[in-house]
């Protein structure tokens, strides 16, 4: 098993690669459609884009969860790229190296099965391995499932930033 790979019951998490892009793009579209169906206008055709996911792959930031048949059921990006708006947040955890989780998504057919939680636990372990001292991220405040996921994992609210789609709650957690 390659480094940075773990098996989680029925799914496995690994680095994304160029061959994953079509599946990832499709996963993104399914997620956007499912969120829109319940009124959550968080992502659209502008962001995140296929090119965003490609950049994540090419920078080595993207991880995917796959089912036993290798279908991608979820993904996220982990790097140290903080949005400029983060500079206005009153973060309480100050570490020399801070990792950021971006674009966590799980296929709508696989939601409520613990995949997002597993992906986040993987992200925390991976960030620790890479010598990061904390994780920062943001969640759309009108996406209760996302907000609830992060609070249940011990993330602390640090403040709200306003992006194109509205207010996002920033979260932080020491590793």
């Amino acid at each position: 098993m390659p480094p940075g790979t773990i098996t989680l019951g029925t799914s496995q998490i690994r680095h994304g690669n160029d061959g994953d892009i079509d599946q990832l793009d499709s996963l993104l579209r399914y997620c956007i459609e499912a969120m829109r169906a319940i009124g959550i206008d968080q992502w659209d055709d502008i962001y995140p884009a296929r090119s965003t996911l490609l950049c994540d792959i090419q920078s080595g930031a993207l991880y995917v969860a796959t089912a036993p048949d290798q279908t991608i059921v979820g993904s996220f990006a982990l790097d140290d790229q903080q949005e400029p708006e983060y500079s206005r947040v009153q973060w309480t955890i100050q570490k020399a190296r801070v990792a950021v989780v971006h674009r966590l998504m799980v296929h709508p057919n696989c939601q409520r099965s613990g995949i997002a939680r597993h992906l986040m636990q993987f992200a925390e372990n991976r960030a620790s391995e890479l010598d990061y001292g904390a994780i920062r991220l943001d969640a759309f405040i009108a996406n209760p499932a996302a907000v609830r996921l992060y609070t249940s994992l011990g993330y602390q609210a640090a403040g709200i930033v306003i992006f194109r789609k509205g207010p996002f709650q920033c979260f932080e957690k020491a590793l």
Binding site: I38, G39, I40, D41, Q42, I46, Y47, E83, P84, E85, F140, I141, A142, P144, V147, R148, T151, A157, I160, I162, F163, R164, K165, G166, P167, F168, Q169
Partner: protein, 64 residues
């Protein structure tokens, strides 16, 4: 039918649920009485059927 955002209680942080609502006048809405609501799952500040006054919140041009 419009979509408005109802604050969720007991979440420990700011969270809102997008809900369908009918605009009655200006900024007055009535939350769709048929909106799916499971109080065992989450607690809305205003339940379905409530008449509420909405306010607008800012958006910026940055990516989110």
């Amino acid at each position: 039918m419009d979509v408005i955002y109802v604050r969720l209680l007991e979440e420990g942080t700011d969270a809102y649920r997008p809900v369908p609502a009918t605009r009655l006048e200006s900024s007055v809405y009535v939350i769709d009485p048929q909106a799916p609501y499971d109080i065992a799952d989450e607690v809305w500040e205003f339940p379905p059927g409530t008449r509420v006054i909405g306010s607008r919140h800012p958006r910026e041009s940055a990516l989110g």
